[in-house]
Symmetry: C2
Subunit: 360 residues, 2 copies
């Protein structure tokens, strides 16, 4: 059996450390693991399957003997290094937004559009965390009845902004409990002009603002959903309306999803619940009598997407509400990335085609 | 000038203490203030305009010399005592859900349906916190262009569950920061079978579940909005779809509101912003370039409703998103209640009609 050399780019981050764990648990036959990061983080020692591995500074040559790259070190790092990796024959699965909208790069959630991995030219993009859990929940419904439109409001955890952001949220919470003024340096967006506390607060800004008043996070949810579910980032086959809000939760995004199906003749609330119960990567947690519904603290550490509060709108037959929760660092990032790599292995696609991405 | 004797029922609670402050700042000419509570809280000393007042245990006779009752001691207490107060000639403004759906009881948000106070028979109901801030924000839009439907997802603060719930949220947060297991006795709903931590978590249950899978809080948002904006709790003039979620915020509800107008010919994003800017009780905080948008920590202590993130849906012309935040204990409760009492005084309606509520 072929074994693969795997490099994790951004290995010391909130997602990177989870990529290591997900890789340990994956079906990928691993030969060697290389942990890559910035110069600042190089020299750190992390473990893979109980074995110490020294984190190395990333250079183009880091990828010389690598088969699979799992990247989560920020868009700029991916833009710089992934074409270098591909040029050297490695296939990269990228968790940043750098290549997601590139028509030459498949954007993949295995439960939804696994076949898209066949079109890769060396780079496969992993969608945004908030998009992934939503499309996983919507997929069985789309298959059964078609999907006309989605209106989603997100409740996104602080860890989506990285490891230092988790610490900031904890620090702010302690300041508040001690009666001190909360201080903020990261939220809502690292590098933005203004920073606001997230603890005991709500921030309706994730990522920077677009010209049209939406945030880039909202733009991502709209266009990634279209690309994944309808094959084209500008498809009008599914309408998507998104409002993204950061909430003082550490891990686990919640989403209030309103969706309208094309053909409601065979659906009702019970049938939607059944579709979700049997759906790929989904766990139905929906029993009001037992107060059973998805919660971030219960989703943490799991790779499934949890769905509950399913109900048809009595005033809009054919439209439904549901509440979707997933671990944003796992299914929203590390787990989906490793799952894509598993599919590459399964379909024997761990090789770069002649017209590889970025070939001059 | 006539001066009024005012009783505050539930004076020691999170809303009651704020009713005292709102009454101090109100335009109501006050003769005497009586602070009423349960036997357990009687004997406590609170202040009104710097003067000590001893809290008394509520009895039917407490209302003998009272003109206006402001009530926020729970539905059961209102059901028991407000008819007694009315029988004794007092007019009651009730912040509980006890009488809201009673066709003989006006449900009033002064910015929206001030005229409804004229129909009172001794009891006027104050709507649910999450309803109030939404209808205040929607009213200028409805006036300008009509309103076909609303789809709302709420982000509701813990203080909506009362003073002890605020303490529970703080205690849980400290447990989490100390690496301890969080313990819960109140959230999601006092007296329910199961309790879950709210700190660093999301609870998609506010109030108990209805037969149809919605929560009573969601039911309230649907039917109160219809009663306030369309005059009938079952009106089909405005469709309302609500998902209510408790978030780990102490004070200040957030709402992601999607709404569709009847006539979009004179509207666009800028016009909606202008309508809100000039709307009663509204403050527009909407400047993406300056990262200006409503946040709970900024709304706390204010009686206005704050609106931002206004944008027309490019795929659904005539539909808009907005983000609405208000202090749930003030505009959502104490401030709106006192504001209703001000209107009663202003329109000389502080008297009980012959066919008063509950007359046998």
């Amino acid at each position: 059996m072929k074994k693969y050399n795997v490099a994790i780019l951004g290995a010391t981050g909130a997602v990177g450390t989870r990529m290591i764990e997900q890789l340990e648990q994956s079906s990928i036959p691993v030969n060697q693991v290389k942990l890559l990061a910035s110069k600042r983080s190089s020299g750190k020692v992390l473990q893979y399957n109980g074995k110490d591995i020294v984190v190395e500074e990333t250079t183009p040559e880091s990828f010389d003997d690598v088969d699979i790259v799992l990247a989560s070190a920020g868009g700029a790092v991916s833009k710089k290094f992934l074409p270098e990796a591909v040029k050297r024959g490695a296939v990269a699965v990228d968790n940043t937004s750098a290549f997601r909208m590139d028509p030459e790069v498949p954007l993949v959630v295995p439960e939804v559009n696994e076949q898209a991995v066949y079109d890769h030219k060396g780079i496969i993009a992993n969608p945004n965390c908030s998009t992934i859990q939503m499309v996983v929940a919507l997929q069985p419904i789309k298959e059964a009845a078609g999907l006309k439109q989605v209106i989603v409001s997100t409740y996104q955890a602080g860890s989506g902004a990285g490891q230092t952001a988790i610490q900031e949220l904890d620090d702010e919470a302690q300041q508040h409990l001690d009666g001190e003024k909360m201080t903020a340096d990261i939220f809502p967006v690292k590098g933005e002009k203004h920073h606001y506390p997230l603890a005991f607060n709500l921030l309706p800004q994730i990522d920077v603002f677009e010209e049209d008043g939406s945030t880039h996070e909202e733009w991502k949810m709209v266009h990634e959903t279209k690309k994944i579910m309808a094959g084209d980032m500008n498809s009008d086959a599914i309408k998507v309306n998104a409002t993204c809000v950061r909430v003082p939760v550490v891990i686990g995004h919640g989403e209030s999803v309103f969706f309208e199906v094309e053909d409601n003749s065979k659906l009702d609330t019970a049938k939607v619940q059944e579709l979700i119960k049997n759906g790929d990567g989904l766990v139905l947690q929906d029993d009001p009598a037992q107060q059973l519904y998805p919660q971030p603290i219960n989703a943490e550490g799991h790779t499934e997407t949890f769905v509950g509060r399913v109900r048809e709108d009595p005033e809009n037959r054919g439209s439904y509400n549901m509440w979707v929760v997933a671990d944003n660092l796992l299914k929203g990032a590390a787990a989906n990335t490793v799952q894509i790599a598993e599919k590459l292995v399964e379909h024997d696609l761990v090789r770069v085609p002649e017209d590889y991405y970025g070939k001059e």
